[in-house]
Subunit: 335 residues, 2 copies
DNA sequence: TTGTAGGCGTTATCAA
DNA sequence: TTGATAACGCCTACAA
């Protein structure tokens, strides 16, 4: 493996290095005869162009960076999958930046943009201060997914989480529930506040009293759903329904309820959030709000690639909607 | 944002470009006074070094590529997570190559190595022809995870799947079962053959008859487990236990059994494979073989980074073991 | 300790 | 259509 460069190919094919380069960038500009010679030389030498040199020369990498809070979370993974698909189709590579929910990591990854290591960035559910993001981004191609930065200069595609919890809550209200509990995700996430707001909105809109002792803060995970439900079900006055900020918490709550001899949905109707795989498989199957992961990924990537190409984007802010998936845990019966 | 280069910084700090470069690569070689001046200039100009140029000059990218069959599968994701962690700690970036189980994509990604776009590759559960892999890899730093290429030149870290199904099967045998069924993954995966072999080995070792009508081929997913179990449970003669090649198939089988009025583990003891999150949460909780995802990721990455540094590796073949996780579905009772 | 200058392997401009 | 040559921005002998 003595490294073989374009020079070697050129020499072997008895043409100039410029001609070899053209065979890659603009083959039509090369005579068929020379093209053939070059191809043969490439073949014989087993030559592969050095992408580093090309990138430097072009000041472009054909790589986009995905900054993602946690690669183990299936919701994020689904978004990532569709991003990767679109990127691949367009001949782009995907660099992975798992922040593990750390602010420093998020910031650090963002700097790769200024270092020219990537042509653009998709920022999934950022937690960094918006103005700091804008400062670092500084006109580079970036698309944000999942944060409602209405006032931002940065193109954003997001889903309306506030509306979603509203829909979920109203579904339970329509089923006759009035004493409804809410398990929130961590309240240091903007997202959690939006969702909680949706819950409150729905209750108020229907003239129902919000019992503050029915509102709990968890961490999105199964265990916290279990523990919160155990605590809640020991209250003197019990809710008849629960909206959970994540499917895992919902499933945890269902399991806790069962451990305490309650039957879901009879004694406690439950709606989750995310539509993870488990939601359709668990027992009883979980009604939930499905987020449009595929679309979030696809649309944001298309926007980013357009930005990179320097095209102007018609819509700089795309709003998608979650979908209510009705299964068994909410107690809805088809007529 | 007129692009600012090292030249600009040098001019502003009234030093040479070499001095600026040294501030990054070897600050001790620069006098404190000049260092200070350079820092100030960097700050004022908001300079970020161009990583493309650096990479070309160094012929190194500080990037590793992970070729992964399917990013949506949580088992792979867990491996990826620990890879990313180790890489990040060592100041390496991770480029993501989701093949979607396509051979062409696997091959295509592998060529990024020759194009110098990455310093090394971790190949998760490759399906490409081993000799083709070796040909493309051609002495570049590569580590394979999960494929028992005993005869390969390429360092490998893998877990002993054959032994695992053996252990799972023996666990059921020890619990008194003799009529044991097996749900295999797709048989065009080497992996599936290894696992099936383990099952057969255990049966033979304990002098038990293998009923070929109890061996089914599925696709690893929930639905196939459900369907296979439904088919199996309509046989005239029924098995009393089941080893499934994946947790999803196991859970599907449990659900099918319940739909047919069977009780797990009383009527059918079940052991799965993978220890996905759902395994601990489902009802009854699933006994299963846990694969050492973390270790697979960590060890392979450490090996790869060592290879990149040109260090010699003591062990070129690392064998890890899966762990039997006993829960409710196998019917084991603690004494 | 500092500066000068050559080169990493391409691409792109220009002239032939 | 082709070839010579100057970038791209940085790193690193080597010399001062």
């Amino acid at each position: 493996m003595p490294k073989v460069t374009m020079d070697d190919v050129a020499r072997k094919a008895s043409v100039s290095i410029a001609t070899v380069s053209r065979v890659y960038t603009d083959p039509d500009k090369v005579s068929p005869k020379n093209r053939e010679k070059v191809f043969r030389a490439i073949e014989e030498l087993n030559y592969q162009p050095n992408a580093l040199a090309r990138n430097l020369r072009r000041l472009q990498t054909n790589t986009i960076l995905i900054i993602i809070p946690n690669i183990v979370n299936t919701f994020f993974t689904f978004i990532l999958k569709s991003i990767q698909d679109v990127a691949f189709e367009n001949n782009y590579q995907v660099l992975l930046g798992d922040t593990d929910r750390s602010l420093e990591r998020e910031e650090q990854y963002l700097y790769l943009l200024q270092q020219k290591l990537v042509d653009g960035v998709i920022l999934l559910f950022p937690r960094l201060n918006p103005s700091l993001i804008e400062e670092i981004v500084d006109n580079h191609p970036v698309v944000i997914v999942g944060q409602p930065l209405f006032d931002s200069k940065i193109p954003t595609v997001t889903n309306d989480t506030c509306l979603s919890t509203q829909i979920a809550t109203e579904h339970l209200i329509k089923l006759g529930h009035s004493k409804i509990a809410y398990f929130s995700g961590p309240l240091n996430f903007l997202l959690s506040h939006d969702r909680l707001k949706g819950f409150r909105l729905a209750m108020v809109k229907h003239g129902l009293k919000i019992d503050e002792s029915f509102i709990f803060e968890g961490d999105f995970y199964f265990q916290s759903g279990y523990e919160l439900a155990a605590k809640m079900l020991s209250l003197p006055d019990l809710p008849t329904a629960l909206v959970a900020g994540s499917d895992e918490m919902a499933i945890g709550a269902i399991k806790a309820a069962r451990a305490l001899g309650k039957v879901v949905p009879r004694d406690l109707a439950v709606i989750g959030f995310d539509d993870i795989k488990m939601a359709s498989i668990c027992e009883p199957s979980l009604s939930t709000m499905a987020q449009p992961a595929d679309e979030l990924g696809r649309i944001s990537t298309e926007m980013l690639l357009a930005l990179i190409k320097g095209e102007t984007i018609k819509e700089r802010f795309v709003l998608l909607y979650d979908k209510l998936v009705i299964r068994e845990s909410c107690g809805f019966k088809k007529v």
